[in-house]
């Protein structure tokens, strides 16, 4: 399988503006390869480095070390983004536009011919179930509808790779289910999808492979079934073990901590 996403020993460091803190390493030696037609789920607690990795792939952040390529092209070249669709987390699209105007705008950025644009708008709006609201301004949309409009803009160039940053974040159960269904349909169409999520059930349902990121390092990755077999427990427990979470009931009491410190 040809790697669509190829990340080798990626390091991303921020220079912290806070006094006393010099350099913060957000991603530490991450290597990853995602093949054509795969749905890859990025898991990790907040601050694990998921969004930072996506930002490097999208060319928003330069890597401090290592390399990242999309379709074999260095992510720092704008042409690497010609075949990708990106849905950021919680974006408020141009509220004075209708969805079809929004899609026409994004289509122009890809120089898609007008006839083709209209054809794609019809099919995408059908896919994201916004056909009835296509002539309404985005400011009148619910959060779920806005997220589906976002998903529509990510699909306008008929991308081969979709990068979705927490696509179901902030949505109600029905909204989440609809987005999940769309990802499932894209998977059936053979699209490569890389998405981050906190919803482990969703990841388990949709993904071919998952990667668990913690403190900038890829701690575990593989097919969900293989991970479950390897650790002999369900995905949620694997995740909690990897990030070192101890349930409150099993955590040492204050007295135990003091005793430990004294001894």
């Amino acid at each position: 399988m040809n790697p669509i996403v190829q990340i080798d020993n990626l390091v991303v460091e921020y220079v912290s503006k806070e006094r006393g803190e010099e350099v913060k390493r957000a991603v530490n030696g991450l290597s990853l390869s995602i093949g054509e037609g795969e749905v890859f789920g990025f898991l990790g607690p907040n601050g694990a480095g998921k969004t930072t990795t996506m930002k490097v792939l999208l060319g928003f952040l330069p890597p401090t070390g290592g390399s990242a390529a999309l379709f074999g092209t260095d992510v720092r070249k704008p042409i690497a983004r010609q075949r990708i669709g990106y849905l950021p987390e919680l974006t408020y699209y141009y509220k004075f536009l209708t969805t079809e105007e929004l899609l026409r705008f994004y289509a122009r950025l890809f120089k898609i011919p007008k006839d083709e644009t209209e054809r794609r708008i019809d099919s995408i709006l059908k896919l994201v179930e916004l056909e009835d609201a296509r002539k309404k301004q985005i400011k009148t949309y619910s959060k779920g509808m806005q997220q589906r409009a976002g998903l529509a803009q990510a699909l306008i160039n008929s991308p081969d790779l979709l990068i979705l940053d927490e696509p179901t974040s902030g949505l109600d159960p029905i909204g989440r289910m609809k987005v999940r269904e769309i990802i499932q349909r894209l998977k059936d169409e053979g699209k490569t999808v890389l998405f981050s999520s906190h919803e482990l059930g969703e990841v388990e349902t949709v993904c071919d492979r998952v990667g668990i990121l913690h403190r900038g390092e890829l701690k575990e990755h593989g097919a969900v079934a293989d991970l479950v077999k390897k650790h002999n427990t369900h995905l949620e427990q694997i995740f909690l073990n990897v990030v070192g979470f101890t349930p409150a009931s099993e955590a040492p009491t204050e007295t135990e901590i003091r005793k430990e410190a004294q001894s």
Partner: protein
């Protein structure tokens, strides 16, 4: 550079101006004030038309500056705040494309608003006077629009340097008033100063963009003959130079700005 992307972004800015209320409010205000003054003869029969034209053009100047500054000031900060910059830059679009698209959109939309104001001015003038100086009117409009080009590019640069839209807009409006009202006389002040203050004042005088070059209100109000086309071309080149300078600055500032 992606020309189609630049045009698409410019069209987006124009569409936004059409759907916002700012322009309509300022236009109605200008029209109401001008027509109210036109209905009452405050200044005596002979001077009425001249004062009316002066009031109308001053209101147009104020409104156009406010529209240009407010439109340009919010473009990139709003993209950053709403995070629409992320899906935008995830497309095959560079940051230079974004700056150029936002500049052209802001400049053309304030130009379109300016045209509406000037057409209103022409209608008011023609209804009060037997003749209408088209060439003078056209030159005033074109020069005014080029002045807005300098202002728009300067504000775009400001929007990438100053933290908030409101602070940038205030700084730009105060700077414009300062250039038009005080700094234009800096060379006269320099004449009576000892060295090195004199040199410093001259450097400052020749460094600032002289927006007053584009103020042709006097020519239109007093129906003076039009200026030479060569002079006008030079003034436009001067405006293009400053606009390019500010745009290069804006592109560099945006390249260094973290997004997301």
């Amino acid at each position: 550079m992606n020309g189609e992307a630049i045009r698409a972004m410019a069209a987006l800015v124009i569409r936004e101006l059409i759907r916002r209320k700012d322009f309509y409010v300022l236009f109605i205000l200008t029209a109401v004030i001008t027509l109210s003054f036109g209905a009452v003869n405050f200044f005596g029969e002979g001077n009425l038309v001249r004062y009316l034209k002066e009031i109308c053009l001053t209101l147009i100047w104020l409104s156009s500056i406010v529209i240009a500054v407010m439109t340009a000031a919010r473009q990139i900060p709003e993209e950053l705040e709403r995070k629409t910059i992320l899906p935008l830059l995830a497309k095959p679009v560079t940051r230079t494309d974004v700056v150029l698209g936002k500049f052209l959109g802001s400049w053309f939309s304030s130009g379109a608003a300016l045209l509406v104001f000037y057409v209103f001015f022409a209608v008011v003038s023609a209804s009060k006077e037997a003749h209408f100086e088209f060439v003078g009117w056209f030159q005033a409009l074109a020069m005014h629009w080029f002045m807005l080009g300098i202002l728009t590019s300067m504000t775009l640069l400001g929007s990438l340097v100053f933290a908030a839209v409101s602070s940038n807009a205030t700084i730009m409006l105060v700077s414009t008033a300062f250039i038009l009202g005080i700094l234009r006389h800096l060379n006269t002040v320099a004449l009576n100063q000892p060295e090195p203050i004199q040199t410093l004042l001259y450097v400052a005088y020749y460094s600032i963009p002289h927006l007053e070059f584009y103020d042709m209100r006097g020519l239109v109000v007093h129906s003076h003959p039009p200026i030479g086309w060569g002079v006008m071309a030079l003034a436009m080149l001067y405006a293009a130079g400053y606009t390019a300078f500010f745009l290069v600055g804006a592109c560099q500032a945006f390249k260094r700005k973290p997004v997301g």
